[in-house]
Each structure stands twice: as C-alpha cells, then as structure tokens.
C-alpha cells in the first residue's frame, strides 16, 4: 500500500516509518511562525508559564510583524514592542514590516520536504513548495516554543487532478475559486488538498502558491503540490528534499477538474459557497478595489494588474488600494516601473502588509460599500464594516473593475 | 439682533495647566465618529479619562497659557458646548480655538491672574456686563478685558449657526 506526500512528510519529521493518516504523532517542526495578530497572546502566556526560561529552538522560531503595519494604535504598537523584545531576548528571528508572513517565510525559509507550523490559517500556503504547512493556535505555539515539539493528527488527503490549463486573463486565482466553488467550502474539512495532474505541473511556483494558499477556504488544513525542478529554480540553495505520493496512495476522495475554457471566477458575499463566473455579477458598482494579500500580492499579480492599468485611470470615487506582499516584491515592482503605473492610474500604493484583507488597520471599507478584492476571505466585516460586501476575484478582474467602477469580466464575449 | 443677553455665568472650577492642546481636548482618533455627542465621551481622554462622567453642567474650565493650541478641529470647542461647560477662563487662548468657541456659543474669558489662585471645585461667577469675576470665599474681584461686540453677539445668538439662520431666514 502506498503513502501520500503528506504521510511521507510526517513520517520524516517523526522519525517513524509508515505513518498513515489518522496517526497522532509528536514531532519537531522545521519552522514555527507567529505574527502580530496573535503573537502577543502567546508571548504573555509564555511569560506567565515559563518566565524568563529559554525557547527551545529559537533559530527555528520566526516572529513576523505584518498585520498592523505601521502600527495604527498604541495597543498595536505595544504588541509590536512586545514581539521585538521577545525576539531579542530569545534570539528568535524577527521580520519587522518586511511583508506578509507567508511571503516572508517562502522568500527566506521554506524548503521542500519540511513541515512548518504557523499561528495563521494561511500557513497552508507552504504546500506549494512541496512542504507541509499547517495553522496552529496561539497556545500550541507556546508549548512548541518551550519544548520544541508539537503533536499532530496526520490528515487524510483528497486528490484534485487538474486537467488542461488556463490562459490570461484567466489565472490560478480563478482556478482555486473554481475548485472551491465546485467542491464547496467544506469538502476538504480537516484534510489536505493535494493538487495533481498536468494542470498544476504546468503552473509556476507563484501560481501553485495561489492554489495552496486558499486551500483553507475549502476547509483544508493544507494544500500541497508534488515538488519538481521548478521549486529548485524558484528557491535555489535551500535544503530541498522531494517527497511524492505513491501511485497507490490512499485518498479520502478524488476529483478531476478540467481547466480548459474556465471563466474568470468571483466569490460573492459572504462565504465561499457563492462562487460564480464573473459575468454573472457584472455591472455591480464598487467603492473599493484591493490588490494584495498573501494570495495575490506577488510580482506576477502586480504585473498582470499593471498591464491592465497602464494608460488607464481608476474610476472617480473608487479607491484602488494596492499592497505588494513583501518589501522585496515592492522593490521589484519599483524597478519594473509598476509602482509608477499604479500611481499614475490613481491607485493608493500601501507599504507591504496584510492591509485590506486583514481589515484591522488600513484600506478599510465602510457601511454599505462594495469591495472587489484579491484577498483571501469574503466573510462579513472582514475588510471593515459588517455592512459592507466583499467580492473575491483575480488581480486582473479587480484591476479592470477598478477602471470601470463596476464589477467587470476581463473576458469579453 | 440678540433676543436675550447673557449677563452672568457661574459654575464649579476644573483647573488645568498651560498649553492644553486640541489633541488633548479631542484626540484625533475620535474625529470621524458620526456625532459631537459620541465624541464628547472622549474629551480630555489623554488627561482625564471619562471626563464626561465627572463633570456637571455649567462647570467652568480654568487653564494657563495658550489654551486650545494646535489643530483647527472645531470639535474641540463643540464637545465642550455639548458637555454644557459654562465657560473657559485661561491666561491666553490659541487663535483658531478662540474663534471656534464663540462660533459654538461657548464663552471664553482671558484672565491672566485668576488661575494661580483657584483650585478644583471652587465656585465662580463671571459678570459679562461689568467684566469681572468673583470667586466664592475670596474677597478679590478679577477684572478682564470686555468681550468684543462680535464675540458678544455670537454668544448671545447661541453661535454662528443661529446667527446665519437669522440671516437666511425668509422673514428677514
């Protein structure tokens, strides 16, 4: 009997052969990550339980300030200060306002074959590199900091085979929306979404990141793609270790999705149950458009948006907010002239941060407003007022809509 | 123009220091709340949290130099009116705040000597006709420069809004 890539990864970290889904194992993750949404709670808990005692593996423990950047209130400033002090005291790695945690982790740490846990649900992103990423709670990480270990319930996997492919202006973002739309938001609850087939193997790493990042929106603990040579050229010099699912690996269920001829997709308020082709909701007026987040704030997304925006102007009374996912991406965009294109088009270019997608700090929407966003979630109130509406779409659809002032499908009949 | 003239203002003293700026009177983070009433709950928050629960209508604020320096935010004057502050007496006032106060029908009195000889809770009476101030249990009478007629008119009108309403009234 064969094993899934996920089972093999847990087998590696637990040092036990033949780990299968359903096993509960104890292991040392390759990396742990906490960000300023919750790290202060963990730090307080750690201090009250263990005082000044040392974190077991500080060199594998990462703290990232990305949600409320720059600090918007004395209380968030205080959270940041607490994280800086804790990182210095414990010798942990700290990234202060350098970008969104998952982008930072991939740019700097994640390697194929690793298991990474993070106090953030979108830790599932790391599967794009051939690693396993899982979200944990802020108490779990306290235990991990102290002991260097964590328990895990090895998840089953569902196999999603992607057939064919998409062409611009349809993107990986539309693919993952289509997948979640087809499977429903709870098809993968507690399981891993393993993406296979030519459709995913033809994708670039950034495209795979887009897929895996939103696996959690389909209920999955992780999205994962079998690593290949693209991983090495994307992240050269990392200690990659490739694991592949066996041909006879056991999956909870299997799906086959044909990407050929896929329409641009959009998730309508207020959950992932409402995913439809963009053409279905065309013409709805918008107040704000957002391009960014750990899902769609990479250079490829910015290039796609810039291509649309170049020589055009954002519609009057519509705010187009753009936040590159990291300072490296911002720098790249600057050098390629994209930032200037955005500014010329009338966009607001924010410093790299979670911004509108997190909805706690900046780029917020108000009562009765409609937002089209490349963020990860369209829950009620996610980006500001609970009386606002969020539509999730690709960077291209979002940019086109910002110019038109209404939700607009980038593919014309 | 004024229908009734304000002659006396009396109340209980709250004492402050120099340079009470507009960020103290009305912190910026509350300025986008939808009403002055809501904002008034945060008046003086950096200095006296829950100020609005501690004051009584008619209380009189007494401060030092340069009261109201800083922003043009009219909310800093408007919240004091909403909180039914009787008047503000200070050694000196910042310019924009001074205008904004009378615009809102809030009386300001410039008086350099008084603040150093009063304490919180003292009872005080301002006589606008004779431009004098009397404090309970003190024999001293404090004089101040009379309000200019523009200010006195605004005060009696209840602020610039009623003043302009009369101007715009069809029966004018």
């Amino acid at each position: 009997m064969g094993y899934t890539i996920t089972e093999k990864l847990f087998s590696r970290v637990s040092g036990r052969p033949n780990v299968i889904s359903g096993d509960i194992i104890t292991f040392t993750p390759d990396w742990s990550m906490a960000n300023d949404a919750t790290a202060h709670i963990s730090i307080d808990l750690y201090r009250s339980e263990y005082g000044k005692e040392c974190v077991k593996l500080p060199e594998r423990s990462v703290l990232i300030i990305d949600h409320n950047v720059p600090a918007d209130s004395p209380s968030t400033a205080w959270v940041h200060k607490k994280m800086r002090n804790f990182a210095i005291e414990q010798g942990m790695l700290l990234y202060d306002a350098k970008g969104i945690c998952h982008q930072i982790m991939i740019e700097n740490h994640v390697a194929a074959g690793q298991i990474i846990v993070g106090c953030d649900s979108h830790s599932c992103t790391y599967g794009a590199i051939g690693a396993f990423g899982g979200g944990i709670g802020c108490t779990d990480i306290v235990y991990l900091w102290k002991t260097g270990e964590l328990w895990w319930y090895v998840p089953e996997s569902i196999c999603i085979e992607l057939i064919g492919g998409v062409k611009e202006p349809v993107t990986a973002r539309d693919v993952i929306l289509a997948i979640i739309g087809q499977l429903g938001p709870d098809a993968a609850i507690g399981r891993v979404m393993e993406f296979t087939g030519v459709g995913v193997h033809n994708m670039s790493i950034p495209e795979r990141i887009v897929l895996c990042n939103m696996a959690v929106e389909g209920g999955a603990v992780c999205g994962i793609v079998e690593p290949d040579e693209k991983v090495i050229s994307f992240l050269p010099g990392r200690p990659h270790q490739f694991f592949k699912s066996d041909a006879d690996a056991r999956y909870y269920s299997s799906y086959s999705i044909n990407l050929n001829g896929l329409d641009p997709m959009i998730a309508c308020p207020h959950s992932m149950e409402n995913i439809v082709p963009v053409s279905r909701v065309e013409g709805l007026s918008i107040n704000q458009a957002f391009i960014g987040s750990c899902n769609n704030g990479r250079i490829e997304d910015l290039r796609a948006a810039a291509k649309v925006l170049k020589g055009n102007k954002v519609k009057k009374a519509v705010r187009l907010v753009i936040s590159p996912a990291s300072i490296n991406i911002y720098r790249q965009a600057l050098q390629e002239g994209l930032i200037d294109i955005f500014l010329e088009a009338g966009a607001q270019v924010l410093n790299p941060s979670c911004s509108t997608c997190w909805g706690g700090c900046t780029g917020l929407v108000g009562d009765g407003e409609r937002l089209i966003s490349t963020g990860t979630r369209n829950f009620k109130g996610r980006s500001g007022s609970h009386k606002s509406e969020i539509y999730l779409a690709s960077a291209i659809t979002t940019a086109v809509s910002a110019i038109e002032g209404v939700i607009t499908c980038p593919v014309k009949e | 123009m004024p229908s009734k003239r304000i002659i006396n203002i009396s109340g209980r003293i709250w004492k402050f220091g120099d340079n009470i700026d507009t960020d103290i009177i009305m912190p910026v983070k509350y300025l986008s709340l939808s009403s002055i009433g809501e904002m008034s709950q945060y008046a003086f928050e950096p200095l006296i949290p829950d100020f609005h629960t501690k004051i009584q209508p008619g209380d009189i604020l007494v401060g030092g130099e340069n009261w109201g320096c800083g922003s043009s935010r009219e909310q800093a004057a408007a919240v004091l009116k909403i909180l039914q502050i009787g008047a503000v007496i200070a050694k000196s006032f910042a310019r924009i705040f001074y205008r904004n106060a009378f615009t809102n029908g809030l009386c300001l009195i410039g008086q350099p000597g008084l603040v150093d000889s009063v304490k919180d809770g003292d009872k005080i009476c301002i006589d606008l006709i004779n431009s004098t101030i009397q404090i309970d249990n003190q024999s001293t009478t404090y004089n101040f420069s009379p309000l200019s007629s523009m200010m006195y008119d605004l005060l009696n009108a209840g602020g610039l809004i009623p003043y302009m309403q009369k101007v715009n009234s069809p029966n004018r």
């Binding site: 720059p70 600090a71 918007d72 004395p74 400033a77 205080w78 200060k81 306002a97 009057k316 009374a317 300072i327 720098r331 600057l334 050098q335 930032i339 200037d340 500014l343 010329e344 607001q348 270019v349 924010l350 410093n351 900046t362 780029g363 917020l364 929407v365 108000g366 500001g384 007022s385 | 700026d21 960020d23 103290i24 910026v28 300025l31 986008s32 709340l33 939808s34 950096p46 130099e65 340069n66 320096c69 922003s71 043009s72 935010r73 009219e74 909310q75 000196s92 006032f93 910042a94 310019r95 924009i96 001074y98 205008r99 904004n100 615009t103 200019s148 610039l160 302009m164 309403q165 101007v167």
Partner: protein, 421 residues
C-alpha cells in the same frame, strides 16, 4: 507710513483704503479648502444655516488626506458625503488620495499671491509662502463662507522676522522656524502675523518657505507670510502664470508699523530639535544627541516634499537604517512620490530599510506608525503633543529631514552635519 502685506490684502478684500490692527472687517474669500476629516461637519452646518447654494463652486476645493488610506470604517462615510455634496453643488475640485491638502493646494494651482484662502485645517497658514493671506478656521465658519463667500477677520498686528545670511550645510528651513518658535514661544505670535523677510528668506526655495509658514501656527500666529519675489515668480512661471501684478515689497521696506521685529543671522544657526511635549520646547540638537530612538518619521505638510526626501536620501544612500529603528517615509503628494521614484530616492530609502507609505497626512494625523509606551520618535512633522502620534507614555522630538534621516541611521538623535556628504 506704509502697511504690512497682510493689512494690504485685508484692505483690498474688504474694499477699504486702509485697515489697522485690531479692527474687524468682513473680507471676501478667494478660495476655500476643506479636507475629508471635517467635510461632513461643514456640510451639516451649511444645511443647518439654511443655505441652498455654494457662493462659487469653482472656489471650493475638497481634499481627502487625513483619512487616506481609510483606517476607520467611518472614513468611507466622510468620502461619500463629500462626493454627494460636491455633485449637488457642482464642485468639481475633489481630490481623492492625491496627497496632503497643503501640498495639493499649491500643486494644483489653487494658491496665488494676494489671495485670501481659508481652510479647515490649522496649517492652512502654509500658503503665506506664496504671498497669500491664509489661515485655518473651524467647520462652522467654513459653512458660512460656503454660503456667503465672506468671513470676518480681526486685522492682526505683524511681527517681522528679518533673516539675513545663508544657512550652513546640514541646517535647513525647519531649523529656522524651530529656532524662532523656541525663542518666542508657542503663544509668542497669538493672533498676529509672522512676516518673514530679508536676504535670508530671498535665498530660500518655495519648499523651504512653505516649511516656515506652515509652522507659524505653532507660535499661535493667525498667518505666516513671505513677500512675493523672484523665487515666487519663477515658481509660477513654470506653470505659465504671471505674478507681476502681485509683486509685493516686505513690510519692512514699506516702512509699515509692526508689533515687533526680530533679526536672525542664518549663518549662525545650528540644527534644532523641539522636545516633548510642546513645540516650544526647542533645543539645539547637541543638547539631546545620544537619546535612543525607536522610530523616525519623514513626511507631513511641513517636511514631506521632494526636497526633503532628497536630503534624507543623500544622507542615507548606501547606508542601513539602525535595525532597532522603524523609518517611515510618507511623501506629501502623489506627484512627489512619483518624482521620488523617478529620481531613485524611493529605491534608496527602501534599500536602507525604510517603509514608504501612500501620500497623505499619515502618522501626523494619527494614522500608521503609532509608537508605544516608553518609545521615542524623531519626526519631521509639526506637532509633538502628548498622545498625538503614540501612547501617552511616548515621546516625540521634532527635527529637520536631515536630523530625522541621520538619527534613523544611528538609532539615536544625532547632529546631521556629521552625515552630510
């Protein structure tokens, strides 16, 4: 006996031959500026007053800057109400996310010498740099202007600041105005005009003049003003506008009666810093050098211009920000942001470890970059009031762009002259 520049403008706009300090006059307003934070309040008061029409929609400018990018749910309501009102009143000058009002007003051509400009912001006094009479007012008075086109003013006395000489390297306009405020105090010019003149002023750029007039209100002044000269003319010339008819002579040269006169030799100035928690607490930077900082801020209507970013970038180029310091840079306008990109300044700032945010009031209006308990910041803006940009237990020091940039490098407040290349 002559008149001060401010008196002349008030006389002209009140249709009097001559006005004298202390008199009350009703004057015509040439332009008004209303920003997003107070827009809805102006509109509400305008309605309460019973007005139906704006006196002249072409003279009204709305600018979104305090709430941009929106950091509260309420911000959106402000934007909507202003858009609705502007549409109804045929006001076409609404600027969304273009930058800070006091930068946008001159940048978009709404500020002219000799004009009377009123704004719902205390730093409206900035436009005195262009020889206009401009000052900040409350939202109710603004509503009255929208209805009538007029406002009452009490003619201010003028304090004359005669500046001579040339600034030494590493000392700039911010140091001049900090020095002056330190000398005369935060109420040293209450209800008065601060007029800056002399060959020292003649040698300053428009950007530097804006920095000086911008902070007049921090000394309590009603307005700051600088005589129109060749520098002013060439500023307008680049926009193909003539200022010939506005050429004014300083109150000093016109033998006007001034309240008092101060003289400064700019060549003797050193970098100055305003210490917590009042702008008047000014000291030479040497007195506080070595104070550890946690954050540095370069931006605001005082010092967020291209010239300021150039100064900072020239100091920072090829160096790294101290790892314990956050350096936040907010260009004052979209135009400045784009020019800074074109000149490579943004690249230099980013490479050094700075964060560049979208143009707007930013931290100076309490947006991103708030500092926490026990933290200290060096900042290029205009106010260091308790709690304005951080917790009640934080400290803000105000300095020039050079002082801010040099301090960001070292991690403590430092004299920037050591870093000038």
């Amino acid at each position: 006996m002559g008149n001060t520049i401010t008196e002349k403008i008030i006389a002209l706009k009140s249709e009097q031959k001559k006005v004298n300090p202390g008199e009350f006059h009703q004057i015509k307003v040439d332009r008004v500026m209303i920003h997003d934070l107070f827009g809805p309040f102006v509109i509400q008061q305008f309605r309460k007053m019973g007005f139906k029409k704006v006196w002249d929609p072409t003279r009204v400018v709305f600018i979104f800057d305090h709430l941009v990018p929106a950091n509260t749910i309420e911000a959106a309501r402000h934007f909507q109400e202003i858009f609705n009102f502007a549409d109804k009143m045929n006001i076409s000058n609404v600027f969304e996310a273009e930058g800070i009002c006091h930068q946008i007003m001159p940048e978009k051509g709404f500020v002219y010498p000799g004009d009377v400009i009123m704004g719902t912001d205390s730093h409206t006094c900035t436009y005195g740099a262009f020889g206009s009479f401009s000052t900040g007012i409350g939202y109710t008075e603004m509503a009255a202007i929208l209805g009538t086109g007029e406002i009452w003013v009490k003619v201010p006395e003028t304090i004359l600041f005669k500046l001579s000489g040339k600034l030494p390297s590493g000392v700039d306009a911010k140091d001049i105005i900090l020095k002056i405020i330190g000398d005369i105090g935060t109420d040293g010019a209450t209800y008065k005009t601060m007029e800056f003149c002399g060959d020292g002023i003649a040698g300053l750029t428009m950007s530097e003049r804006m920095t000086i007039c911008n902070m007049a209100v921090e000394a309590g002044a009603k307005n700051g003003i600088i005589p129109v000269d060749k520098t002013t003319s060439s500023y307008y010339y680049q926009y193909s506008l003539s200022t010939d008819k506005y050429l004014t002579i300083s109150s000093d040269d016109d033998d006007a009666v001034c309240h008092s006169t101060y003289e400064y030799d700019l060549s003797k100035l050193e970098p100055m810093v305003s210490c917590p928690h009042t702008v008047g607490n000014v000291k030479p930077v040497s007195k506080v050098s070595g104070y550890k900082i946690h954050q540095a801020f370069l931006g605001s209507c005082t010092n967020g211009r291209l010239e300021d970013l150039r100064i900072a970038a020239s100091i920072i180029r090829g160096r790294r920000i101290n790892p314990q310091v956050r350096f936040i840079v907010t260009p004052a306008s979209r135009k400045i942001y784009r020019e800074a990109i074109r000149e490579g300044l943004v690249q230099i700032l980013i490479d050094s470890g700075a964060i560049v945010t979208h143009p707007g009031c930013g931290l100076c209006a309490g947006n991103g970059g708030i500092i926490g308990d026990g933290e200290r910041m060096i900042s290029s803006n205009n106010r260091n009031y308790i709690g304005r940009m951080g917790s009640k237990d934080s400290e803000v020091f105000l300095g020039s762009p050079a002082t801010v940039a040099a301090s960001a490098l070292t991690g403590y407040i430092v004299d920037p002259r050591e870093f000038i290349r």
